[in-house]
Amino acid sequence: MIIRGDDITGPVRETADVCIIGSGCGGGASAKVLAEAGKKVILLEEGGYYTSKDFGSTEETAYQKLYQQRAGQATDNLGITVLQGRCVGGSSTINWTTTLRTPEFVLEAWKRDHGVEGLSSMELDPFFARVEKYLNVHQEPDENHNPNNRIILDGAKKLGYHAVAVGRNTKNCVKAGACGLGCPFDAKKTVAITYIPDAVKAGATLLANCRANAISVSGATKHVGGVVYDQATGKPKSDFVIEAPVVIVSASAINSPVLLLKSGLANSSGEVGKHLTFHLTSAVLGLYEKIIYGAGGIPQSAMCDEFLNKNGDGGGFWLEAVPIYPALAGLALPGFGSWHREMMHLYPHIGATIVLVKEIDSSGAVSVNDYGRASISYTLGSKDLKYLKQALATAARVQFAAGAKRVMTLHATATEIAEPSQIEAKLAGADWGTNELALFSAHPLGTCRMGANSKTSVVDTHCQTHDIKGLFVIDGSVMPTSLGVNPQLTILAIAEKSAEWIATESVKFRE
């Protein structure tokens, strides 16, 4: 059963075997596994419940209905925009479908540096394979790449860099270009149309528009309390308390630590909210004589992974394409006024390549602000800044190799590059301070990190908090490090594995 806030008329008081907070990849996959194991599951989602008929598939409707803070979420200094879903299905509803396995060197580092057991490639492979089959993950044939993705494939090939098609979780995709706005055709196999319906079919109850504000613990029982909102108006209308021996926090790397910190739970290590990574993202724009029209076709179907962990230090970067929606372009393009507007007139001729840096020495954190909401801080490390500069230079070379006539970065003051020989000098002369280069993240991870040592981590290998039996965190926040790849498959696989363990051990959580 799926219940919207609109349909709730009074205070909600319920008991369950498992209460899950958040219906994205972590929460949705956990709900399906546990409901199918016969557990009474109540799933809470602070955002609304929308189907493909409600999406509208414009930036205006999508940002308002489906995105955290209407796509305006950012670090406190506004230096990095943090894009996340806020709806049933979470970020899977608005991501660009890229579905990739966790790189082996990352899993090895988790074991070596954090004592993580049970998550080797060999142990995760069956879960990866199961999820891939369930979500119809596949690579697109060559003719399906749009011109913006062809820039990566063709440009990288000319330069001798490795570039391939990515895995995508779609079926019967009509190439509408709407992945980031909510797929109006239900071609994208989001959590909202796969895991959630299957969880509900197995008996789970999903309460949308219900924001959890605190968890309290008495004996083996946990109480999750919060506010019910009206979906149409966004106004608070009632409250809820759910009692359960098992609570799974799946509210994302931004909001899971906020909930734990507000509740005063699971933080004996002092590590909750720390070690935030972003998979820090910026872009290089190329101007072409031909039409690119980056808003059309499949938005993201190719990547260049030549430079990930190339030096063996666990860092590096890779390149992907990005859908170029008008407001996103308006925000990203440098400058303002007449110059900016003239650049917007070149919109159909703009190709955009994003660079994503797998951090190794940056420092991010989430804390709770005076309003009880997330305060996000981030300091870019010197090694990661070096990789960011290399990434932008590489993307510029790829753009030129693919035929761009001019290239520019997203520096506030335009850094235009007329030919490849200018790349290094132009970037050397650019400013790199906060808000001098537009930066984004769609992959925040790591604020309740997993590890064997309870003094340096928040959860164990099963995603159970070291401090409290029966209290779990299952989402991107448990990642001990940046992944270097788009995270949805990693989160889904870890969620399925952890939820299976919870199902088999569930009697213990009532003791």
Partner: protein, 158 residues
């Protein structure tokens, strides 16, 4: 030449443009935002609309009314600081409020915020730019000008 007026005084003909049903902006904040958006978006080419014509400030009023409380508070503060003669003087040795500057001075003033050595001013510029660009380019009236065709939709939802 820039008009020199105290920042608290608004001209009557300006106020007539302010919608009566504002939910977030004060009338003065509405005018400050409208003026900033006009410069940030830039003048429209013939046959197209600017931020004022599409009601960018009214759209921002609705948008910001649904923002988190801390964002609402910070944006109020930003508009106050952005316009106040005290701060225009402290930041740039200008003697007028933003509202009373000439269009050229407004552009120059905004550029000073964008390239300021003070991180907080660059953040302020980004905040203004984000809301202005979002309000303008999410509006379908702006799409034809740039060649955006919207998303291919199912027949029953076109």
């Amino acid at each position: 030449m820039a008009k020199i007026i105290p920042s608290g005084i608004l001209f009557a003909d300006d106020l007539t443009r302010v919608p009566q049903n504002l939910v977030y902006f004060s009338p003065k904040e509405f005018l400050i935002f409208e003026a900033a958006a006009d410069r940030l978006i830039g003048p429209p080419p013939p046959g197209h609309s600017g931020s004022v014509e599409i009601g960018g400030a009214a759209r921002a009023d609705q948008f910001l009314s649904g923002a988190d409380p801390e964002v609402q508070e910070q944006f109020h503060q930003l508009l106050t600081v952005f316009n106040a003669p005290l701060f225009t003087f402290l930041f740039d040795f200008r003697f007028s409020s933003f509202l009373s500057m000439s269009p050229e001075d407004k552009n120059s003033y905004i550029e000073d915020w964008m390239t300021s050595s003070l991180g907080v001013r660059r953040s302020g510029f980004q905040a203004l730019k984000r809301v202005c660009m979002s309000m303008f380019y999410t509006h379908s009236s702006s799409w034809k000008e740039i060649g955006y065709e919207g998303v291919f939709m199912p027949e029953d939802r076109k």
